[in-house]
Structures are given as structure tokens and as C-alpha cells.
Amino acid sequence: MLQYIARRLLLAIPTMLVVSVVVFLMLHLVPGDPAIVFFGDQPVTPERLEMVRRQMGLHRPLVVQYLGYVGGIFRGDLGTSIHHRTPVAEEVLSRIPSSAELALAAFIVAVALGLGLGLLSALKRGTWIDATAMLAALGGVSMPIFWLSAMLIFVFSLKLRWFPATGFGGWDRLVLPAAALGFISSATLARLVRSSVLEVLWQPFVTTARSKGLREAVVIRRHVLKNAFIAVITVMGLQFGTLLSGAVITETVFARPGVGKLLVDAILNKDFPIVQGAVLFIALVYIIINLLVDVSYAYLDPRIRFD
């Protein structure tokens, strides 16, 4: 097992390096002079432009510039925000609590809803319960999250005044965004849980478990769910990607000061150092989550370790 984890960790390193290359190149892929991009929409004199070119080291070869950038990352230096004149690393770090809170809460909602709806519709296959649950899941796949969020705000904060519509801090500000993001992310999961439970439900070992007199609840928990779970875990990893990108939009709708909102605002303000920092951060989180998913996958299914 340790060997497997070590191998997967080693494999993640080149991926992270390539991601850093892509993020570094972003600034140079923008049509036009990176120094002008650096100033965004602000007017600038030629002298000042030349000075920034020197400061940014744009006269040096790309490889040298890249090595400088990566060196900076290891020292925790991601550059300086054009808009706020603050260190990018500081900006990103200060936004993590809000995003982490939302991601965690939404993930719990998504897993609870996805498992619940999927299991329920598999066990009640062909009934109206099954049909309703799958219709809800199909709705979740087809509904834009920014619209669901707006409707939740309209009903629960503007009309009923149960929860505040925007901001960060306190559980009452978390309920609506977590519900919106969790519901949207649960849809795919519910469909997958249903099909993997159905697949396992008629296997001989389940019939054996039943015929030896186990209670139905025990059969489901110990024999059906445990086996259906392996497929579910993989999708949960993928779903976390959906959740991360959904969070970008959810944070904007609910005006939550998270990394996603930071990224969108920075793109709108053409604040490239921040865009780079936020993209780098989200991609790294995604790589780490997938690593954890792979490891837990190997833990649950010994066949994978000895592949």
C-alpha cells in the first residue's frame, strides 16, 4: 500500500510541473506585450512600461523567466496583484476559509443527497419513488447553478427572509450556497449510485446473504452498498471537479469572498498575477483530491494495488 501511495505521489509531480508551465505561459499567450497586459486598462507612459519590463524580467529568455516563477512558487511568492498592489499569495490564502467551508458543506450535501436518492430509487425500482428521484436528478443535471442560486435567494432570503443572501461567516450564510451547489453536484452521483446498486443487487452473493436469513437492512449495508461504493468513490473524485467549478459560479452569485470569486473578478479586471495564482491553486487542489481518491480506491479494492 505504501509503495502504491509513493508511486502515485511521484506521478503527480510531473503533472504539477506541467500545470505550472501552463499557468506561467498564460501571461505570454495573451495577444500583445505582457507588460501592457500587466497594466490592464490603466494608461501608462513608455518609460514606465520599459521599467516594468525590466522589473518583470521580460528581457530574459523564457526558460529563465519560468525558473524564476517556479522558484517564487516554492518560496510562497506568486507575484503582486495589479489591482490591489498586495502579494497574490496573501490574496489567495485569505480566500481559502470561505471556499473550503462552501466546498465541504456542499460535498456533504451532494454525497448525502446522491447516495440517498440513488439508493432509494434503486431499491424502489420501477415505482413512482424511482421516477421522482430520477427526475430530480435529471433536473439537477439540466439546471444552471446560477439560476438555482438566484431562485433560492429570491424565495428564502428576499421573500421568506430566512437566510441572508450574500457574504461569508456564520452557518446561516452557508445554507443557501451549500444547498445549491450540493444539489447540482448530487445529480450525477444519484444516477450512478442507482445503476451500481442495481448491478450488485442481483448478484449471487446478495441472494446468498438473503437466504442465510440476514435482515434486509444488513444485506443492503454490508453486501450491496459496500460493493457499489467503489464505482461511487471514483465519481466522487470527478464530482469534486464539478464542485470546484460550480463553486466559482456559486461564490459569484452569493458574493462569497472565496478563491472562485477572486478568479472571476481578476479575469474581469485583467489582474493577471491573481488569475495565475488562483488557477494554480485550484488545479493543485484538484490534483491532490484526485490523488486521495486514487489512494482510497486502492484501499477499498485490493485488486488495484497489485496492478
Partner: protein, 280 residues
């Protein structure tokens, strides 16, 4: 005549969901084409006297802050949004299918290079890659379509590659090679038809996803710009008037959901009819 396509069509027509989805979709497309005939108003015509009217007989879905008829704007928006979905998926196919074909057919170094690129693109979750592309190209509707298309392409590349890997082992491919067909001819004439079924299924479902992604970019201010009546842009306009004009937000959202739901129903039906193995 019992060609596989005919059998698939019969199976498709037996699926209630697919027929329902297909019917709604045909209806939406016809409405988009006939848009100017279905409304007496212009999508961009302002009428300050009619500001923020709730839904009524003259304005079925109400009016916005400038007195523009919301029904007209949503209707004309369907032209933009449905096209956006189609164009994005076309871009994804144009990029993804050749990548998958070359990768699966040639194997070895070509395969490894292309699959590394695909893996790299998949390192950026969901809409993040699209955001990166829009950040580089600058925000406008065409760039948003390009971004959504590029970020969807690796999925197609993977599916096509997997299909090619099994298809190229068939005896008729060996036969084609024996009679002297070129690699290009074998790929296009003998292997590519095998990828049609999974591409039709994924492409259909992809149009729905692309409509949502492009609308999301427009909603964030990174795609279609006001006064363009794209559905995401309409929602973005409605955001600030939620308290006083719920109809500005509700109806464009319902339009997106109806379109995407019908596409998903049709796509699910196509998947069951064409390729039961793709069922997740």
C-alpha cells in the same frame, strides 16, 4: 431491411423520454427560426413607458428595466444559445475526433503525446480551463464558445481513441490494408464509422452541457455582453432586479432548463438505443 441504424431508430422511438425530449427540442428550434413571426416586439427595442411590467397579456413574460419585452428577448435568445451549444460542440468534435483517431490508430509515441495533452487538459476541472482560455483571449461570445469547445475536446478524444483501439483489430481493417488502402483511407472509411454511435450520444449530451457552460460564462460577464439577449446574459441582467422583477431572472432560467432537459432526455434515449455499453 434491418440495418443497425434502423433498429436503433425503432428503439429510440419506443423510449418515452427521448420522444418527449425530441419533440420539445424540435418545437424550440422551430420557435427560434420563426422568432420574428411569433412576437410583435423587437428584442432590443426600448420602451421607457413600459419599464418593469410583471407578466400580463401584452407582455407574456413581463418587461425589463428598459421596457423591453422579456418574451421577445428570451425567444431571440434561443437563437443565440442553441447556436452557441451547437458551435461549441462542433469545435470540440473538430479538435477531439482527429486527436482520438490519430492517437488510437498510430499508438506508440503519437498516442503518448496526445494522451499526455488530454490528461493535462483534464487536470483543470470543469469550467476552469474555459475560464483560463477566456482570460487569455478576452471576454466575448465567440471566445466563450471557443473556450467551451476546447475544454470539452479531451473527452471526445478519449472516447474516440477507445473505440479506434478495438475497431482497428477487426479483420476488415486487415483486409483493407491487404488490398493496399492508405492509412488515411483506412482511418476515415473503415475505422471512423465505428465511432459514429458514441459521438452522436456524447455530442448530443454535450450540446446541453455547452449551453449551460456558455450561459455561465455570459452570466459571469465573460461571454455574450448586454444588450445581446443570450440566456446567460439575460440572467445576469436580471440579477440586480431580483427584488423588484423576479420575471427577469425566472424565465430565461426556465428557458435554459427546458432546452437542456429536452436535449438530455434525447441524449439518454440515444445512448440506450445506440450503445447500451455507454450507460453509466
Amino acid at each position: 431491411m434491418r440495418s443497425p441504424w434502423r433498429i436503433a431508430l425503432r428503439r429510440l422511438l419506443r423510449s418515452k423520454g427521448a420522444v418527449l425530449g425530441g419533440t420539445i427540442l424540435v418545437f424550440l428550434v422551430l420557435a427560434a427560426i420563426a422568432a420574428p413571426l411569433l412576437t410583435p416586439y423587437e428584442p432590443l427595442a426600448m420602451s421607457p413607458g413600459d419599464r418593469l411590467q410583471p407578466p400580463n397579456l401584452r407582455h407574456l413574460l413581463g418587461t425589463d428595466i428598459f421596457g423591453r419585452d422579456m418574451f421577445t428577448r428570451v425567444l431571440f435568445g434561443s437563437r443565440i444559445s442553441l447556436q452557441t451549444g451547437l458551435i461549441s460542440v462542433t469545435i470540440a468534435l473538430v479538435l477531439g475526433v482527429p486527436m482520438g483517431l490519430l492517437s488510437g490508430f498510430y499508438g506508440s509515441l503519437t498516442d503518448r503525446l496526445i494522451m499526455r495533452l488530454v490528461d493535462l487538459m483534464l487536470t483543470f476541472p470543469g469550467i476552469l480551463l474555459a475560464l483560463v482560455i477566456v482570460a487569455i483571449l478576452g471576454p466575448d461570445l465567440f471566445n466563450a464558445m471557443l473556450a467551451v469547445g476546447i475544454s470539452a475536446s479531451p473527452t471526445y478524444a478519449r472516447v474516440v481513441r477507445a473505440t479506434v483501439l478495438s475497431a482497428k483489430e477487426h479483420v476488415y481493417v486487415e483486409a483493407a490494408r491487404a488490398v493496399g488502402c492508405s492509412n488515411a483511407r483506412i482511418m476515415v472509411r473503415h475505422i471512423m464509422p465505428n465511432t459514429a454511435a458514441p459521438i452522436i450520444v456524447l455530442g448530443t449530451l454535450g450540446v446541453g452541457g455547452a449551453i449551460i457552460s456558455a450561459a455561465a460564462l455570459s452570466y459571469l460577464g465573460l461571454g455574450a455582453r448586454p444588450p445581446q439577449p443570450e440566456w446567460g446574459a439575460l440572467l445576469s441582467e436580471g440579477r440586480n432586479y431580483l427584488r423588484v422583477a423576479w420575471w427577469m431572472t425566472t424565465f430565461p432560467g426556465l428557458a435554459i432548463m427546458t432546452a437542456v432537459l429536452s436535449i438530455n432526455l434525447l441524449g439518454d434515449g440515444l445512448r440506450d438505443a445506440l450503445d447500451p455499453r455507454l450507460r453509466s
